[in-house]
């Protein structure tokens, strides 16, 4: 399992780079590194479905970020040295929240089964009866399209709402359309 720890360290370093570096395009590339490390970790965790989806989704995320950054501005002009006064309260609140969260999560994780041996109460049924009930050899596809089909219906709705939302937000305002049509 040493590869898992190396990849986790790479992922944390890339995340720190992504939020601190001054050039925005480099931050998008660092986010891509985080995503690809997660994709390789999905392969190590024996989840090939998720690895395929994570790789292609990560590529498209970096392409979308690059499309927005290249059309607007490249560098981050808000980073100035020193501690500002308006940053004190958010930082203190964040540190408090972080410590409380770490303590509570530590106590919760001590009650979960240890890493590497899940309980699998429901999944045992799905694995044993999946092939006879649905006829699909891929158990994950059988789960998302047959046993838990409502979740996929909800996901289809969310994707539709996101596409409609983006097309509405990026629609040209009425006055500009008249201007450019007059010019063309």
């Amino acid at each position: 399992m040493i590869e898992l720890y190396v990849l986790l360290a790479a992922m944390l370093v890339a995340a720190l780079v992504a939020i601190q570096i001054k050039d925005l395009l480099a931050a998008a590339v660092a986010l891509g590194i985080v995503g690809f490390s997660i994709a390789i970790m999905f392969i190590l965790l024996q989840a090939p479905d998720l690895a395929i989806v994570q790789i292609v989704v990560e590529t498209l995320t970096v392409v979308f970020f690059a499309a927005v950054i290249l059309r607007t501005t490249n560098t981050d002009t808000t980073i100035a040295g020193g501690l500002k006064r308006e940053l004190v309260f958010p930082t203190v609140a964040y540190v408090t929240f972080g410590l409380v969260l770490l303590v509570l999560v530590g106590r919760a994780l001590a009650e979960l089964p240890s890493f590497g041996s899940p309980t699998m109460l429901v999944a045992r049924e799905y694995i044993a009866l999946g092939l006879e009930k649905t006829g699909a050899a891929n158990v994950v596809a059988a789960i998302i399209l047959d046993f838990r089909g409502y979740d996929t219906l909800g996901e289809v709705t969310v994707l539709f709402a996101a596409v409609v939302g983006v097309l509405t937000i990026m629609r040209r305002a009425g006055r500009k359309e008249q201007n450019s049509e007059g010019r063309d």
């Binding site: 498209l60 649905t134 596809a141």
Partner: protein
């Protein structure tokens, strides 16, 4: 974004067909191998994005292009919901799968009842939807940076 150099255009011309075919393969074999509708749909969208980036047609995209993409995406959604209603029509529950439409032989391509058409519907929907989002982010008439 005027379109890239001729080397990139040659490679894009070769790769776009392979990407589209591979995405369709992942969608169609979703019930046998890892992948399924979502992964294949995003790959199909990526092949369209590659063509539109390499041949420089992102900026000159007409409004018709992203109207067409969003219409195709809605058709994919309608297909998925009508497949879910098919169980209702046949007299049992909403989304009921294999007991009415037969499972076929396991490990063949035509098995799994409703899972194969549902994967195709999801692939169409995700592919067209993500291409429409890319066109809106990259090609909308927008005040360029000075």
């Amino acid at each position: 974004m005027r379109g890239m150099s001729s080397i990139v255009q040659q490679i894009a011309r070769l790769l776009a067909g392979v990407l589209f075919l591979f995405g369709t393969y992942i969608v169609l074999h979703g019930h046998l191998t890892p992948g399924g509708g979502f992964a294949g749909g995003v790959l199909i969208a990526a092949s369209f994005i590659l063509v539109s980036l390499a041949f420089g047609s992102v900026e000159q995209t007409e409004r018709n292009s992203y109207t067409l993409s969003s219409v195709v995406e809605s058709l994919g959604g309608v297909l998925f919901v009508s497949l879910a209603l098919a169980g209702y029509v046949a007299g049992t529950f909403f989304f009921q799968n294999a007991s009415i439409y037969g499972t076929g032989n396991p490990l063949q391509l035509l098995s799994g009842g409703i899972i194969l058409p549902a994967n195709i519907a999801i692939g169409i929907k995700v592919g067209a939807g993500l291409f429409a989002i890319f066109l809106a982010l990259g090609a909308s008439r927008f005040v360029m940076k000075d």
